[in-house]
């Protein structure tokens, strides 16, 4: 993976803010899942979030496209604040790509139809054009020959690459990844990570929940460590892995790095 490492010189040089969370809280019933999240993501920035199971990582990124509703504080995505305004929510969702742990492809549609659905129905792109774009991204994730198949006919790694391409077809400004490789067999993890590294190289703004520490080291500008609904530590990958500040971070790292 090292030879593919993205150079640090590609650090975002702009101050343009893509996502901003200000003192954001969320409860599931009585359970306080997110306890005051402050986070600013600049354009072209790549952030890796890690932390123990149940710490609220998924919930955090799902708040960004309002798959979960936060109850206090502010979330501003691409200059639009997330409120109950359904129009704004749909606008933001179209700009924010999301890749799930379990792919969530549409099983009743072909790969190509999975990819063109969003552009055609949300962006109102002509079908022909949408198909060309879809084929372009399928080439990019090295899976163009599967375009006419159905998701059920593909391996997990292939499905996840299709899911990434599906998001890319919407020309998103940010990509959110929720443990994109943790449902995959080991031999398929690399093919998905490679696609994500390519994406990073092209300057996509990315927030990735993952425990792939190699990926974090080579791609992330910042690594966030979450525990009990809070961002406990936040640092450059190098500092994060070599010199963690908090006891909880140290414990977590010792557990996942053995």
């Amino acid at each position: 993976m090292n030879e593919k490492a993205v150079q640090p010189s590609e650090d975002p040089d702009t101050d343009e803010i893509m996502i901003q969370m200000i003192d954001m809280h969320k409860w599931f019933g009585e359970f306080h899942v997110l306890q005051g999240i402050n986070l600013t993501v600049r354009k072209k920035e790549r952030i890796v979030i890690c932390g123990p199971s149940g710490s609220g990582k998924s919930t955090l990124i799902r708040c960004i496209n309002r798959l979960e509703v936060h109850q206090r504080g502010k979330i501003i995505v691409n200059g639009i604040e997330l409120t109950n305004n359904i129009r704004n929510i749909e606008k933001i969702r179209a700009e924010v790509g999301m890749v799930f742990q379990h792919f969530n492809l549409f099983p009743h549609l072909t790969i190509l139809e999975n990819l063109t659905l969003g552009p055609v129905w949300v962006r109102k792109t002509p079908k022909k054009e949408a198909e060309e774009t879809a084929m372009y991204f399928l080439e990019k994730v090295h899976i163009a020959e599967q375009a006419q198949k159905y998701p059920g006919q593909l391996s997990g790694g292939q499905q996840q690459r299709v899911a990434i391409a599906r998001s890319l077809c919407m020309a998103p400004r940010v990509m959110l990844f929720d443990e994109p490789t943790s449902a995959l067999d080991p031999e398929m993890i690399k093919e998905v990570l490679d696609v994500m590294i390519d994406l990073a190289r092209e300057g996509m703004t990315m927030i990735v929940v993952t425990h792939e520490m190699g990926f974090a080291k080579s791609v992330a500008h910042r690594v966030l460590f979450m525990d009990y609904g809070q961002i406990v530590e936040e640092n450059t990958p190098q500092a994060f892995f070599e010199n963690p500040q908090h006891e909880r971070t140290k414990l977590f790292l010792s557990q996942i790095l053995h």
Binding site: N65, L67, I86, E90, K91, R93, A94, V96, G97, M98, F100, H102, N104, L105, F106, P107, H108, L117, G118, W121, V122, Y150, G152, Q153, R166, S167, M170
Partner: protein, 366 residues
């Protein structure tokens, strides 16, 4: 190494063991495998021997086909004459005799439309136009009053056309209504949800017969004087409302079977509620529930015969009135066998079609 290579080659050419054993093999494997199955097979054979020959004798050998009622009473077998002699009345009811080609043509149009609609290859805009034109033509043929066709009052409609009218339109209208009710029942809006639940539970708590009575007797009492609503229409609406409630519950089951991830994937692409349902959720959910949906449609089709109770002359009622004619009294087995065959053809083609649809939709995906 060489040994490895040959063994791989051998494995490559290995054929699956043959499963064909000839007739004797088949009989042994399927009819006489084990004591219990052998006994079952013998008992079945004995029953067939006892039942089939007399039945064939009754239906075909000793039967009368084209006689009058009096002659019929003398034969020991079936009197199919009761059907053949009253065929046009059973099929068309009180529709004026010399105009009965009109409902016949209307039915042919309907069958043609159904035939083309069952092939998904033809599901396009032209089929929609064909249906609109077809509905207009059928309405015109039945009702008349235009283009030199003598008007026929709907109280004279009856027999098979009426049964088809009630069931085809009852089912096609009940299905979308049921889907909408199921979506309403799942809705986030509590007012709408309560309304849908109330509707579904109320309707399901009442037998169809009482709904039909309400539609035919009680409902008109509430109408202002001088306003009358066609009796057939009222029965039709009762059937639609009744069937929709059952379809709603089946569809709800399909919706609940959908994984949360499908909604989330659709939403995160920016699809709104309507598109998410139409493009992602319903195509999958409705497919899952094809078998129970068709069960409901089949029983609704048969339940249309209950309109006989409110004196609509559907297929069942026309047959019954033939039987009340003194000349043909006592031949109910023959008439009911005939009606049963017609209903069976309808039900069988529905379930056949549903199996075909399921097969097509599932080979598409895997």
């Amino acid at each position: 190494m060489a040994g490895d290579a040959t063994s791989i080659a051998a494995a490559d050419t290995l054929k699956p063991p043959s499963t064909r054993k000839g007739v004797v093999g088949w009989v042994r494997a399927n009819l006489f495998n084990g004591v219990f199955n052998s006994i079952l097979t013998l008992v079945t054979l004995w029953m067939l021997y006892k039942l089939v020959p007399p039945l064939v004798r009754w239906a075909f050998i000793d039967s009368a086909w084209h006689t009058g009622g009096a002659a019929c009473h003398k034969v020991s077998g079936a009197c199919w004459s009761v059907v053949t002699q009253n065929f046009r009345f059973i099929i068309f009811g009180f529709f004026p005799y010399d105009m009965q080609w009109r409902p016949l043509v209307a039915m042919l149009i309907l069958f043609a439309l159904l035939f083309f609609s069952q092939n998904r290859k033809y599901w396009n805009r032209f089929l929609l136009y064909a249906w609109i034109a077809g509905l207009f033509a059928m309405g015109l043929l039945m009702k008349g009053g235009l283009f030199g066709l003598a008007p026929v009052d709907s109280t004279q409609w009856g027999g098979l056309p009426l049964t088809l009218l009630l069931s085809v339109f009852g089912l096609t209208a009940a299905y979308p209504l049921g889907v909408i009710l199921a979506l309403g029942r799942q809705s986030q809006m509590s007012g709408l949800r309560t309304l849908c639940i109330l509707y579904i539970e109320l309707i399901r708590g009442v037998p169809l017969i009482s709904l039909l009575f309400m539609a035919s007797i009680i409902f008109p009492l509430f109408l202002p004087e001088g306003v009358t609503i066609n009796k057939i229409l009222r029965a039709q609406v009762a059937i639609i409302l009744f069937t929709a409630a059952y379809i709603a519950e089946v569809v709800r089951g399909g919706l609940q079977g959908m994984a949360r991830g499908q909604y989330e994937a659709a939403e995160s692409l920016g699809l709104n509620y309507y598109l998410t349902m139409r493009l992602i959720i319903l195509p999958q959910a409705l497919k899952i529930v094809i078998p129970p949906t068709v069960s409901i449609l089949i029983s609704a089709f048969k339940d249309t015969s209950l309109v006989a109770i409110i004196a609509l002359f559907d297929l069942l009622k026309t047959s019954q009135s033939v039987l009340s004619n003194p000349e043909w009294m006592g031949f109910s087995p023959e008439v009911y066998v005939f009606i049963a065959v017609i209903y069976f053809l309808g039900c069988f083609s529905m379930s056949n079609y549903s199996r075909k649809l399921e097969r097509e939709l599932s080979t598409e995906e895997y």
